[in-house]
Symmetry: C2
Subunit: 292 residues, 2 copies
Amino acid sequence: MLKEYLKASKAWTESYLASLLESPNAEYAKLYESMRYSLLMGGKRIRPILTKAVMESLGVSPEPYKEIVCAIELIHTYSLVHDDLPAMDNDDYRRGSLTNHKVYGDGLAILAGDGLLTYAFQLMCQNKVATPSQQLQCVLALAKAAGPEGMVGGQAFDLESEGRHIPLEELQVLHRGKTGALFLAAIEIGLILSKATPEVQASYRTYGDQLGLLFQITDDILDVTGTIEDLGKMPGSDEKQDKSTYVSELGEKGARTKANETAKAAKVALANVDGDTTILEALVDYLVHRTN
Amino acid sequence: MLKEYLKASKAWTESYLASLLESPNAEYAKLYESMRYSLLMGGKRIRPILTKAVMESLGVSPEPYKEIVCAIELIHTYSLVHDDLPAMDNDDYRRGSLTNHKVYGDGLAILAGDGLLTYAFQLMCQNKVATPSQQLQCVLALAKAAGPEGMVGGQAFDLESEGRHIPLEELQVLHRGKTGALFLAAIEIGLILSKATPEVQASYRTYGDQLGLLFQITDDILDVTGTIEDLGKMPGSDEKQDKSTYVSELGEKGARTKANETAKAAKVALANVDGDTTILEALVDYLVHRTN
């Protein structure tokens, strides 16, 4: 059942994303092409799907709020484009295709990232159904999560820590910024658009915290156990770069134990919620068993 | 009189900017340091001053709206940090100091730019005085101006056009994006916060269009006639890079004529406005005669 849900939700997200970013003139056409290249390269679309699933679990249709629900995927895409640059992770492949800068050059890749990031906020403001107050709360949640207090902070700390063995406590700060903040924002946006009560919000936030952590632990495990076919990129890049990961800190078995504990905590958080949280719980299992 | 106004407004802007961007933890300290390095490097602060001057000309105090008025300077700063990167203009100096990437490395400079850009939107949402609807309009105006339809589009077109001689018409598209859009947004934001009527808005927008153009023409002239002391960077970089400019297209004298015509059009646009537009008109003359 989850498999069909994910497939349908991914298709829902991607058909909307494909309708975006048409160049307003011939002069900017190359920039728009490069933005679309990375935005439509595929991927799990897990962040907008998470927002969608939160809304549906609380009985609210995401359909009228597409701009706001899908904007987070533009932010995620921009972060990958910049992360792949030679000055950062220096990756040639992403999802089985050449990375943005390998196709368009470093300069345009930087600008494509800048463009995707900025356009995400434009898109959120252009929804006509949410109240201005809801929209503003969503923009704020996304900006805080994506910016220096969140994802950019985590990325910078990651960059600074390369080649240094960092203790588990710092690793958690790193990932709470780098991955967790955006996962949490996906949930927050769903809660804002669903007008959830503070009590419900607290339960979902705990779920979101654990889900983000789980995503990162399984990411680290996949970098050791995954195949190039499944991942669409070379495994083993963390070890090559001598990066601290949950696997390097806890061992593969320890990391799996941590993943299972985290998965359990995520499910427990939703135990007392009134709505239908079947999909959100199945998402946890999906992350535990994912192969890419 | 304008000189004192600019000095006081610059001080007003900079004392607010200096209060921003304290790192929330030790792990992100380097990122925040690099963002502050570029944000507090000086500069004319012309964009927030423009918003401030528009509001004051319409009888509205900018003081309660500092977050919204000053956010544009974070966007401008991010654009310089990314523009200076080796993959873009490859500049070592800016305002007489080393550029961000020369101090912090290319990776952190990319992230500092990303952080400044994202934080600008967070900041705008954090103002407590404007209505949600006003705030949302301001975020939208800034995102449109800064994003792929505006500044990022212009930058990308500029990058694509390097070494190619582009005709005057395309040059105007380029600069309307690269410089003009953000100038216009500075004015729009002032109009939104002042609740200006559509008629007043139209006059100010024409003024803003011409002012942005004037800024670019005088920028091109300064690249030929300016000194390293005044500019804080090497003049002649446009010619070195074989860039099309108003000077290369019209000659120095032709560019000066164009600057004077544009200045006149900017002033004419404000002729029938009710408010006190003395400062806004003086700003036009200031741009015509600027040495940096």
